[in-house]
Amino acid sequence: MTSPVSQGADLDTLNKVVERVRGNIKRVIEGKPDVISSAVAVLLAEGHLLIEDVPGVGKTMLAKSLARSIDSSVRRIQFTPDLLPSDVTGVSVFNQNTREFEFRPGGVFANIVLGDEINRASPKTQSALLECMEERQVTVDNTTYTLEAPFMVIATQNPIEMEGTYALPEAQRDRFMVRLSVGYPVEAAEIAMLDSHTMSNPLDDLEPVTDAVEIRKLISIVTQVHVSQAVQRYTVALAAATRRSSELALGASPRATLHLLRAAKASAAIQGRDYVLPDDVLGLAASVLTHRLLPSVEAAMGGRTTATILDSIVASVPVPEGTRA
C-alpha cells in the first residue's frame, strides 16, 4: 500500500487535473479556494462530502459544479420528506412484457450523487444510503449491484431549519469523509458574483474538464502516497485523544482515522508531495472529525462546541519527531 510513487510525472498529472477542476469550480464559487480544494481532495480520497451551511451560500452550487467538472454520470436526489428508500436505491418492477421483475436503478447509480437537503428525508430514507456509501454497492431483492468507481456522494444540509428535518444518524455521519461549510463570501467575491450570476447561470456554461477514467487514475496515484510511521502514530494519537477526552461523549471511530489519513494523502498529493506531513493531518482534522464527535452534556452546557473541543485536543497532542519509516 505504501509503495513509493515512482515518477514525479504522476503527481504532475494529478496537479494539472486538480488545477483544471479547481479552476472550473472557481468560475462558479467565488473566493473559496480552500473549500474547493477540500472538495477535490475528498473526491481523490474516495470519500463522501457533506456540505453543511445556511441557505443560499452555494452548497448546491458547489456540489453541482464539482459534478459537472467531471465528465461522468451525475444523479441528483432531492431529499424530501416523502422520498422513499426505493427512490434512492432503485426498485424491481414487474415487466408485463417479459413477465419478469426488472430492476430500475435509483438515484445512487451514478459516479457522483448529489443529495440535496439530505436531512429533509426521513431517517428510513437516509438509511438507504448506508450500504452504498460504505460498500459502494446496492442490494435490492437479494441482488447486489456494484456501483461504478468513482463513486462520491455530495450531500448538502441546512443546520438552521429544524422544522421538518431529521438529523443524520451517527452511522450516516460517520460515512461522510469530510463535512464542509462554504461560508459567506468576502465582499469582493460577492461583488464579482453579482456580475457573473445576474447575467446568466454560470453553471450552464460549465464544461467538464476531466472524466471518470482520469479520476480513477488519480485515485490510484493518491493511494500510493507514502505515510511514515510517525504520521500514522500521530493520526492514531489524535483519534485516541478524542476518545479519551472527558468533553466528548463520542470520539472518532477507526473509520474516522482511516478517513483522516486518506484525506491527508489526497491533500499531500494535491500539494505535489509523495509523502504525508503531520501538517496535512493537522489541517484536515477539523473538517474530517468534527461532524463525527458528540460533546458530553457538561461540555455542551458549558458552551463548548465540538470544534473548540477538537482544537484543544489537537493542541495537546504533540507531533512525534519520528524518524524515517
Binding site: 507514502h226 509523502y275 506531513l277 501538517d279 493537522l282 489537537v314 493542541a315 504533540p318 507531533v319 524515517r324
Partner: protein, 796 residues
Amino acid sequence: MRGMSADARRDLPLAAVAAATTWLTMLSWRGFSELWGQFLGPLILVAVVVPVTGVLLRAAPLSRRLGILVHLLVVAALVWLMLGGSAVHPVASTGDLAGRIGDAWVSAETYQPPIPQSVPTIAPLLIPCGALALYVVDVLACWLRRVPLAGLPLLAVYCVPISVIGDGVSGLVFLFSAAGFLLMMFLQESAHIARWGRPLGGSSAAADPQGFGVHTGASRGSATTVGSVAVVLAVILPLFIPTLHLDGLGLFGPGGDGGKVKVVNPIADMRRNLHRGADVPLLTVQTNDPDPTYLRIAVLTQFNGIEWTSGNRAIISDQTASGLLPFSEQGLSPNVPTDQHNYTVTATSDFDSRWLPTMFPATSVNAVGDWHWDASTMDFISGNDSTTTAGLTWTMSAAKPRLSSYSMINSLSAPISIQEPYTATPSTLPNYVGDLAQQVTRNADSRFERAVTLQNWFRDNFRYRLKSAEGDSNEALLHFLTKGKGHRVGYCEQFAAAFAVMARTLDMPARVAIGFLSPEKTGPDRYVYSAHDMHAWPEVYFRGSGWVRFEPTPSRRAGTVPAYTVGRAVKPGSGDKTPNSAGGSNPDEPSSASAPTKGVKQPESAAASSGTSVPWVGILVGVLVLTVIGGVALVPSAVRRRRRHRRLEGGAEAAWSELRDSALDLGVGWPTGRSPHETGYLLKAWFGAEPDGPPLVRPARGRGLAPGAEDALDRIVHALERVRYAVRADDAPGALADDVRQCIAALEHGCSRGTLRRARWLPRSLFGRGRRAAARAGLDRAPEAVAAGGVVDHVG
C-alpha cells in the same frame, strides 16, 4: 551651538548645587583629623572643577559614555596633581605618592579620629575619596539625570563619619546636605516640568524652557515649603527620640562629643575617653615628682567572666580624704626605701569623676568633699552624687617605693586575705587561658619572674591598636589571646585585663588599675593630664613589696616598663610558638621592647614596618583565582561553539537541533510537539532585519524582515520533513550549514546586545533549565495562539 550653550546654562545650576552639596556634606568629615583643612581645602578646588568640567563636557559633541570617562580622567588627574604627583615625571612620583598614602593608611589604622597633628596626615586618603564622591554625585545627578540616586553617595559621605566617629557629627551639616539635595531635586523636576508642552520645531522656544509660558514660580513656593518642613522635621524629630542624639549645631567645634569627661564606671569611661575625638586636658598637677606617671583613678578587683569591675565597695564613713593614710595597709614593707613626693592636683571643670585620682601608694590625701578610701585598693570614691572632681583642687603625698626585683623574686606568697580574693577567676574561664599562662611562664622559677615573663610576652607578641574589638569577656579574652588574623591586637584595657587574668591563673594576686599614663610637662614641676592619657595596667601583689605595677601594653603605647622588671626576663615557654624577641632569650640584657624607648608614641616606626610590604602571595593567588574563574567562564562558550561546528557538519536533523539550541540561547521560545512547518512559521516571527547602522537597543523583529533567512528556514524545514516523513531523502551532511547560519544571524539581528552577550557567554541550551523552559513553552501554548500562529511564549 546656541542650543548647546543654553543647555549648558541650564545644566550649570544643578551641577554647581550638586558639587556644593557634596562638599558641604563632607564637612561631616572634619572629625577625621585635627587638621581637617588639609583635605577639605583642596576638595573645594575639586568641587569647582568637577561641575565646570562636567558642564563643558556635556556641551561638547561627545557621546555620554565617552564624556563620563573623560570627566573621570580629568578628576583623577586633578587629584593626582593635588597629592603631589608630578605631571612631568609621573612614574617617578608614583613611589612618593604611594608612600604618602601608605603613611596615611597607617595613621588611619593606628589612631582614633581625629588623627592628631603630630602624625602623618590622612589627607592623601580623604582627598581621592572626596573627589570620587563629588564625581559620582555629578555623574548621577547631571550626566544620568538621576538626582534621587545621587542621594545615595551623599548619604554614604554623611554616614561614614557617623559609623567611624560615632554620634559626633554636626546636625548643621545634615541641614546643609538635606537642603542641597532637595534643591537638586527641585532643579531637576522643574526642568522636567518646563519641558512639558514644548512646541514642535520651535527651536528658539526650546532653547529656553521657561520662555513659553511654563512658570516654575508656583511650584518653587510649594517646593520650598515642603522641603523646609521636611528638613526641619528631620532635624527636630530626632531630638525627641531617645535613641538618636544630635550634637546641637556645633559646626566648627571639635569633632568629639564635647569637652565633658564624666567618670562613673572607670573602665567604660576610659574606653570612651581613649576613643573620643579631641584630647581634652583634665588635670593639672604641681609636684616635685620628676616622673609623675601612673596616676591612679580606680582599681578593678573582680573579674566575673564578662568584665572587670571595682566590686561592691562599702563606703566607710571614717575613711575620708582628710590627711594621713595608713601606709601599712598597702602591703609595702617598712624596709623598702621610698621617695616622698607632694602633689597639688587641680581638675578642670570638664573632669567630672566620682573617683579621685591619686598617686599610689599615697600617704596622705586632702580633698574637699565626701571622699572615702578603700583599704584594700587605696582608691577614693565619692560618697554622694554631688561630690565630683569637677573644678576640685586637692593635695596629696605619695611614697613611691624603690622596688627591688631581688626581694620580689624571693618574696613569700601573699596572705590569705589577699591571695584568695585576688586569684579568684570565674568558673567559666576557658582552660586555654591558664594553659597558655603556664606555657608562657614555664621557664620562669619565681612568681615575680613569671609576671615579668608574662609582661614581656605581651609586649613582644601583641600589637597595640586602639581600634580593636572591645571588651574583656571570656570570648573577647580568647580572641585576644589566640593567634590568627586580627587576633592579638588590642589596647591597654585588654592587655591589663588579660595579664591580670593570666596572672591569677598562675596563683598570683592580680588586679587592674585605671588611671593616667603620663602627663605632658607644661612648666617647671607642672604637668597636665589629658583624656588621651588614660590608661589601664595590671598590679600584682608580692609580699613585702605590696601591689606592684606591670606594663604589658606594647611599646607603641607605653614606652617604658617598670625599672624593676628590666633584666629579669625569662625566655617564654616553648609551648608558645611565637618567635621571641632577642631580649627574651637573654635574661641579662634588656629587651628591645622592655628597654625604655625614646618616646611614648612611636607611630612612624610602626608605619615603616607594617605598611610597605607587598603581599605577593595574595596577588598571585588573586591572579590564579581570576585565571581559573576566567577559564571556567569561557567553558560554556567554547563547548557551545564546538557543538555548533559539529552540528553544521551534519544532516537536516543536526541542523534543526542547532537551530533549536541557538533559539534557546537567544531566549526565543521553541515550541515542542509542533511540526517542523509550524515551528518554522513561529520562528520567523523572531527574525530581525540586518541592521544597517549600529545595533539597536530594541531591534525590530517579525515576519518579512529577513526574506533571505525565511527562505533558508523553509529549505531547512523542507529537508527535515523529507528526512522525517518521506520515503527517500538526500540528507547530505553540511548541505544546510549556510542556511542555518543565515537563520541564526537573522535571530541574532532581532535580539538586544545584552541577549547576544548572554547567548555567547552563558548559552542556555547547555543547561537543563533552558531545555525545560522550552518544553513548557511548547505545551503551555494556548490553542488559539497556534491557530493565530503569532504568539510564542518567551522563555524565562
